[in-house]
């Protein structure tokens, strides 16, 4: 039972991080129907920025919580800026192009950003300092849930609640929902669609940066290639939950995280990444619109 619980907590931790990245995919897809392939790279850049800032601060004598907060804030700002720029450069000129064009452009952007970090920084794995503090009140439970896991799960939960509130109740959230439903109609009633799309990219990228800082602290090392697999898995999670649906992305990510955790724990750790894809294919065959996705009716 203990082993089960340990795997379950591990799965939730994993799932939380997938959820943070998957939200970016699902929000962007909901609004402009584009698989933002470069999203994984935004997450990687967030992790790198946090590492650089944290190291500079640590070497200049700062320590503890202030390093964590400053590094996270800078990482979030930079990731948001990258997300914004990528959209402006690579996707905005292609708004009216056929479906395949923005996807190829996104793959190109992803390759570019990977190699940009590879050339400007290094191809080696860099050790990432564990910035997350040890929580004293977690000590009795340390057997099956460490403070890092606890912080990751709670942070994600808080962010989810904030995001839901933002989308449900603010003016910006309303505009985003309107654009997702019908872009032309939203434009007609006076929604600045370009700004809504920019906002979506900024929010999604900021969430990815939070995910980047958290997972880098959890795993303890990063390199330029971490974005690819994380991106694909997060996208799998988004599709699993029904792409375009925000609660769906979270649910999909948690299901994916737990599946991976149990499968590696009980079956075999060699095929860790295979389970994610098998799960995806099985779900899509049984229910192609995903767990919480709406079935799109086709008009003739």
């Amino acid at each position: 039972m203990d082993y089960f619980l340990e795997l379950f907590i591990g799965g939730l931790t994993r799932g939380s991080i997938y959820a943070l990245i998957a939200l970016g995919y699902t929000m962007v897809y909901g609004i402009i129907e584009l698989i933002n392939f470069a999203h994984g790279e935004i997450y990687m850049i967030g992790a790198f920025t946090a590492l650089i800032v944290a190291s500079v601060l640590a070497m200049s004598g700062m320590s503890g919580l202030s390093v964590l907060i400053l590094a996270s804030v800078v990482a979030v700002i930079y990731s948001a800026a990258y997300g914004f720029t990528v959209e402006k450069v690579a996707y905005k000129p292609l708004r009216k192009a056929p479906r395949l064009s923005p996807l190829i452009s996104a793959i190109g952007m992803s390759i570019f950003l990977q190699n940009y970090v590879l050339l400007a920084q290094t191809s080696d794995f860099l050790p990432f300092p564990n910035l997350l503090p040890d929580l004293p009140f977690m000590a009795p439970y340390v057997g099956f849930i460490g403070s890092t896991e606890f912080i990751i799960i709670t942070t994600t939960a808080v962010i989810m609640v904030l995001l839901t509130l933002l989308i449900k109740f603010t003016r910006m959230g309303k505009a985003m929902r309107a654009t997702a439903q019908d872009r032309d109609m939203a434009m007609l009633v006076g929604v600045n669609v370009n700004r809504v799309i920019s906002n979506t990219f900024i929010i999604g990228s900021a969430l990815a940066a939070v995910g980047g800082v958290l997972i880098a602290s959890h795993i303890g090392r990063i390199n330029f290639y971490i974005g690819f697999l994380a991106g694909i898995k997060a996208f799998t999670a988004a599709v699993l939950g029904g792409i375009g649906s925000i609660p769906g992305a979270v649910l999909g990510a948690l299901v994916l995280g737990c599946t991976e955790s149990f499968a590696t724990g009980y079956v075999s750790s060699d095929y860790e990444d295979v389970f994610a894809f098998v799960l995806l294919i099985v779900i899509l065959i049984i229910k192609p619109s995903g767990l919480l996705g709406q079935k799109a009716t086709q008009k003739v």
Partner: protein, 413 residues
């Protein structure tokens, strides 16, 4: 008038300054700072910031000029009602021009291995392999409109079929060639069966997952595929049991590849006009209308996947024979992305475009060795820029039209 130009000029200057400041900010942590966490040293590379600033300042002018041109270009095109035909298209469509051009290409292809080094012949063989892969993927992506991001799985199937058959049973190249194609075709149908119901992006991501699963299985199933270390010592193709040295074998493989290219071009070209080809096009344009016309959607989709993967299987066998070694590292997602970009850059649906695209994408990086560190970077940039400024590819695929002449038909009756 001059004041107008002046304000426009000032406006452009201002924009470029903003753009370059933005990019200097954006690239600051990653380009300027490099931390060495082991020795606790921070390296500040301020010169990089200057390069980024200057570079983006100039590029923003180029960008504005190009996007202004591409917008006015589109307007012109609409006005001319597609009357504007590029030189390359004329080269293909007009017999008077295409026959001599074909002759020149044939002569170059024939004498290439004798005038260049063995190294260059090898690269050329690789490029030809990508031509066939591109044409094969084009059947699925360009003609049927099914975005397949896991094409590399079928390529791997071909390569591993030859490698395993040789390893266990000593099967030679010529027997492995059809078997490899068969294995890839079966794999293609196996993939197509579950994904028949899926459309668009769902299909893309499932095929991507399928490609990754294939690679991961090859990497981890040690008893079957010998894991990451792969299989080595695969023989090159033989010619009636003749003993060939390294040089002759390379040249021989080059000519075999040319032959495969010609066969592929012939088949793909005939396919476009065939019943299946037209069904594929109909499927791409409108699935519902296509069904209403009595086309069996399931069968057409299966055919598209099967036909596409057959070529990948054939090239896979060639790949194993050329490198004499296969391992899973050759079949990553990047390879699929590469083949897809060949199709898209060359021009979806255009045979000559895909040939040019493959040759450019494979040969250019090989000859620009000076930039070898930057070649993947440039590759990414080119993909983005091509999509923005020339999304139809280098050579636009010509839409086939069929005319029905009532008069002529009457006479025949």
């Amino acid at each position: 008038m001059s004041t107008f130009n002046n304000t426009k000029y000032m406006e452009g200057m201002k924009q470029s300054v903003i753009v370059s400041t933005w990019f200097m900010f954006l690239t600051f942590p990653i380009m300027v700072i490099r931390v060495n966490t082991i020795e606790n040293i921070i390296e500040w590379r301020w010169m990089n910031m200057f390069y980024v600033g200057a570079g983006s300042f100039i590029l923003s002018f180029v960008w504005r000029y190009l996007s202004g041109r591409s917008i006015s270009g589109r307007k012109e095109n609409i006005n001319a009602q597609g009357g504007h035909i590029s030189f390359l298209q004329r080269l293909v469509s007009e017999k008077r021009l295409s026959l001599p051009a074909l002759g020149v290409v044939a002569v170059i292809a024939l004498f290439f291995p004798f005038i260049s080094s063995i190294y260059q012949t090898n690269i050329m063989t690789t490029a030809l392999m990508y031509v066939v892969l591109g044409l094969g993927l084009n059947i699925v992506v360009g003609q049927a409109g099914l975005l397949n991001l896991g094409y590399v799985a079928f390529y791997a199937a071909g390569a591993y079929t030859y490698a395993l058959l040789y390893h266990h049973f000593g099967v030679g190249f010529w027997l492995a060639l059809p078997l490899g194609a068969l294995a890839a075709t079966i794999l293609g149908i196996l993939l197509a069966l579950p994904v028949l119901r899926l459309q668009g992006d769902y299909l893309a991501i499932v095929t991507l997952g399928f490609g990754e699963i294939t690679r991961l299985v090859l990497e981890n199933w040690n008893e079957f595929s010998f894991g990451p270390s792969g299989i080595s010592g695969i023989p090159r193709p033989g010619l009636f049991g003749m003993e060939m040295g390294m040089h002759e074998a390379t040249v021989y493989l080059y000519f075999l590849m040319i032959l495969l290219c010609i066969v592929t071009i012939f088949v793909v070209n005939r396919l476009q006009d065939s019943r299946i080809g037209r069904a594929l096009l109909a499927l791409r344009e409108d699935e519902i209308a296509c069904q209403a016309m009595g086309i069996n959607k399931t069968r057409v989709k299966l055919t598209a996947f099967a036909l596409g993967s057959t070529w990948a299987g054939l090239v896979g066998v060639f790949f194993a024979a050329k490198t004499t070694f296969v391992n899973p590292a050759s079949f990553t997602f990047l390879e699929s992305a590469m083949i897809l970009s060949i199709v898209v850059l060359g021009g979806t649906g255009s045979i000559i475009g895909i040939i040019i695209g493959a040759l450019l994408l494979i040969l250019l990086p090989e000859y620009l060795r000076a930039f070898s560190d930057y070649r993947m970077l440039l590759f990414g940039v080119i993909m983005v820029i091509m999509m923005i400024f020339r999304p139809q590819g280098i050579v636009e695929g010509v839409r086939r039209t069929y005319e029905f002449h009532a008069e002529e038909n009457k006479k025949e009756i």
